[in-house]
């Protein structure tokens, strides 16, 4: 008996039932919160699937813009959390938005500024927090928690959604995910499911993140908190007075020039902070000179290297992120300059 092609198609469809079921589950569940608009992206659960922060920032911006008409932005990675819109507004008096992303890259910063400029969105003020990764990463990173939202990046939204779906369907991710949803944190074989404890409280109007739990823990028992931090902290003696390698090559230079061009065309009052990394490493002198040349020395605030902020681990909530008091202090030094500034060692450039 000759079997018709539709029988083959039907059988293939039936054989793929496990795949269809998983896709249906994915569409209903939206585990990465990229399919639908959500009112809240972070829950009060003790642990959270590590979702794409760039997407959260972009979605909130697009959702809130008609209401708030933001014209001022804080850009950067999670290191910029310490620089809150709430505090910044004391100096700029404008509707502002915290437009950050995990591991923000130069590509991310470039595309965000470009998007705002090309869409004639007001860009009155901006505060850019530059860390080493942000200065050299000139590509769209592919991981689900890092890939840039296609609305801003201009890349294919089909490929973007495919990235999340394929991650869910493959590598045992969905097994780990279902297991986690069922209440267990046991990871399946060697398959990674990035779940982390969510420490922050968020402001869905400004997209600010606050280290509430950390500050509470410091308030309750400061000594205990920083003793525990010591375990993961840097061995300062072995790291002192080192410089980062030279990051700004042709590609980075081109993107930085474009950012400057867009900011100038928008008449933006911009300030750039070179982040105080707790490893006390300073940005390469040549890189700082390039940034000075492009953006103007008066707009660059270099807190990298060995200085009174980076020397004191009590200025950090972990081995990367500075506390809000430091963010507040830096903003004060930028916008209300006095004679007293962060003391720097001779080795720090600028």
């Amino acid at each position: 008996m000759i079997k018709k092609p539709y029988i083959l198609i039907l059988k293939l469809f039936l054989a793929a039932v496990p795949v269809w079921l998983l896709i249906i589950y994915y569409v209903i569940e939206d585990p990465f919160k990229v399919l639908y608009e959500h009112n809240e992206y972070y829950t009060t659960e003790s642990r959270e699937l590590f979702i794409n922060r760039d997407h959260v920032s972009t979605s909130l911006y697009l959702k809130n813009y008609p209401k708030y008409n933001y014209d001022s932005f804080i850009f950067g990675s999670s290191r910029s959390f310490a620089f809150s819109v709430k505090e910044w507004q004391k100096y700029i008096s404008s509707p502002a938005f915290h437009f950050d992303a995990y591991n923000e890259s130069l590509f991310g910063l470039y595309t965000k500024v470009k998007y705002l400029s090309e869409n004639n969105r007001p860009l009155k003020n901006c505060l850019i927090i530059i860390d080493p990764r942000l200065l050299y990463l000139d590509i769209n990173q592919g991981e689900t928690h890092l890939i840039k939202d296609p609305v801003i990046s201009g890349e294919s939204s089909i490929i973007y959604q495919y990235k999340f779906l394929s991650t869910f369907l493959t590598g045992g991710f969905f097994v780990s995910y279902l297991n986690w949803r069922a209440g267990s944190l046991l990871q399946f074989l060697d398959f990674s499911l990035i779940i982390r404890k969510w420490y922050y409280t968020e402001d869905y109007n400004t997209n600010d993140m606050f280290y509430t739990e950390h500050e509470l823990a410091i308030k309750e028992n400061k000594e205990k908190f920083f003793n525990e931090l010591s375990d993961s902290y840097y061995d300062k003696d072995s790291l002192n007075n080192q410089y980062y390698p030279h990051f700004i090559e042709k590609e980075q230079f081109g993107m930085l020039k474009e950012i400057k061009k867009n900011l100038s065309e928008s008449g933006t009052n911009y300030k750039i902070v070179l982040y105080p990394e707790p490893n006390e490493k300073a940005f390469d002198k040549e890189d700082v000179n390039i940034l000075n040349d492009i953006f103007g020395k008066e707009n660059i605030y270099n807190y990298s290297g060995s200085n009174e902020i980076t020397k004191n681990k009590e200025n950090y909530i972990d081995n990367i992120h500075v506390r809000h008091i430091i963010g507040d202090r830096i903003m004060k030094e930028i916008y209300e300059p006095t004679d007293k500034k962060v003391e720097k060692d001779n080795l720090s450039p600028n």
């Binding site: 054989a15 496990p18 590598g171």
Partner: protein, 493 residues
């Protein structure tokens, strides 16, 4: 584009649909376009190299037909160009470095001249395919192809361009002229074979790789049980990796109605090394037999027959095996580890031939010749010999292989974790036991298959068992397949 990627799934689905819609006379053009796209997807510029090789051998064959008295000249012309390309891209840097090292021994120091070229994917496979065609035309075993497009398709036919099978013109080229109608049974066979290959690759080989690779990568940190595990696991890793790839290639071909050459026939059930080479990478071993081993054996037999005191059969075999397996090793890669692996295999064969009558006499004397235990012991012994050779194949240096082999019996060391980049990661024992279960399952299925191919075997089972098997296979594949597709070992050759 690898067979275990979503890109291939999409590409192949589109090709199959268009293929069966198109009128027959246009189908080979579609396959040629698809093959060019498939090959260029990896590295666009190397399509030129494939085209040069195709043009060289196609024209050589045509000239052989036109000028039969000068056909030897055209054969040499074709061989020089093909092997020159292969040498330049695959072996030049290896030879250059080794000649420099050799020069240093006589006090002549200079920096090696190195070419900054990447090995084009599948080059060794399709060059061998093309060489076999010119040889077959030269020997009047095959009529020269008239259509250069079809010949180019033969060279870069996408299911087999990256890692074979090393097909023969006599098998594949006539199929491009056959009218392939939609056939439900052939297509389902192809689908089953493809799924089985995918299962072997992503479920078994990649699971084994997760255990084996960290041990080989930082071998000095391990001894005892970890070394035994990697020694026993790697043969199955490479088998499932390569035969998985081949099954997917054969499955893809079958879905389009093409029967490609088989490459594996349950090699770990081999009862001797010569039996192993009749079951492992068959398209290569038969190629080597037809175009290297037999010509050398015949010509050396003629040479030894003129000399007194030489057993012609024995010496011609020794010479032919030595050269053939040196080339086998070299074909796999420009590295001493591959050459040693090939030579070791050759040594096994020669030793086996020299001791054959002695072993037979021993079995007769001890009345073990009819014992059912003997075939089992032969299988185990052959597997161990092959596994020893695989250690050299997998190792990056001779000293690494020797270290792994000589540190296997320090049983005090347990495998509790992996050393990766200075850190130690504890290992869940499930990661060891699960692959063991998979290996046992694979061997049971192969044993049950008997002489049947897997797609034929499964069709003999009741419908409920077939569908349960399909769902288990599909579930395991989607669980274990990773978004960042892992490569195949043999695509490096």
């Amino acid at each position: 584009m690898l067979f275990n990627s979503i890109e291939y799934f999409l590409f192949f689905t589109i090709v199959v649909i268009i293929y069966y819609i198109l009128p027959f006379k246009f189908r080979w053009i579609l396959l040629l376009a698809a093959s060019v796209f498939f090959y260029m997807y990896l590295a666009p510029s190397y399509i030129i190299l494939a085209a040069v090789i195709a043009l060289n051998d196609f024209s050589a064959a045509k000239l052989m037909v036109k000028f039969p008295l000068k056909k030897k000249i055209f054969l040499w012309q074709s061989l020089i160009i093909d092997l020159g390309i292969l040498f330049t891209f695959k072996y030049f840097n290896f030879f250059s470095v080794n000649i420099t090292k050799l020069s240093e021994l006589i006090g002549w120091n200079y920096s090696p001249f190195l070419l900054e070229v990447l090995l084009p994917a599948g080059l060794s496979f399709y060059i061998f395919k093309s060489i076999s065609y010119t040889f077959d035309v030269y020997r009047d075993n095959y009529k020269a192809e008239n259509n250069i497009g079809k010949y180019f398709l033969f060279i870069i036919f996408f299911p087999e361009v990256l890692s074979g099978p090393i097909d023969r013109a006599s098998n594949l080229l006539p199929q491009f002229n056959e009218k392939k109608a939609y056939d439900y049974s052939t297509i389902t066979s192809g689908l089953i074979l493809f799924a089985w290959g995918l299962f072997k690759k992503v479920v078994i080989a990649d699971r084994l790789a997760a255990v084996v690779n960290p041990i080989f990568n930082e071998y000095t940190k391990y001894s005892g049980i970890p070394n035994i595990i990697s020694f026993l696991f790697f043969p199955f890793q490479i088998y499932c990796d390569f035969s998985g790839y081949t099954d997917m290639a054969l499955g893809s071909g079958l879905i389009l109605g093409y029967k490609l050459l088989p490459n594996f026939n349950k090699p770990y059930f081999s009862q001797s090394i010569s039996d192993f080479w009749r079951r492992w990478h068959m398209s290569l071993s038969f190629w080597l037999r037809d175009y290297i081993f037999l010509p050398i054996a015949y010509s050396s037999a003629r040479y030894f027959s003129k000399l007194k005191g030489f057993k012609v059969d024995k010496w011609s075999y020794i010479v032919a095996v030595s050269i053939t397996f040196f080339i086998t090793g070299l074909w796999h890669g420009a590295g001493w580890n591959y050459i040693f692996w090939g030579c070791l295999m050759g040594f096994y064969l020669i030793f086996g031939m020299l001791t054959k009558s002695m072993r037979r006499k021993f079995l007769k004397k001890t009345h073990l010749i009819k014992s059912p235990l003997v075939p089992v012991l032969r299988i185990i012994f052959t597997f161990l010999l092959v596994s020893i050779a695989w250690v050299f194949f997998r190792s990056e240096s001779f000293s690494q292989a020797v270290y792994i082999l000589t540190h296997m019996f320090n049983v005090s060391m347990q495998l509790t974790g992996y050393h990766i980049g200075g850190s130690y990661y504890p290992i869940p024992y499930f990661r060891i036991f699960f692959p063991v279960i998979l290996i046992i399952l694979l061997l049971i299925i192969e044993k049950l298959q008997k002489d049947m191919e897997v797609q034929v075997y499964i069709k003999t089972k009741p419908i409920w068992l077939r569908w349960v098997s399909y769902y288990i296979l599909i579930l395991l594949i989607i669980i274990f397949n990773k978004a960042d597709t892992s490569g195949f070992i043999y695509t490096n050759f």
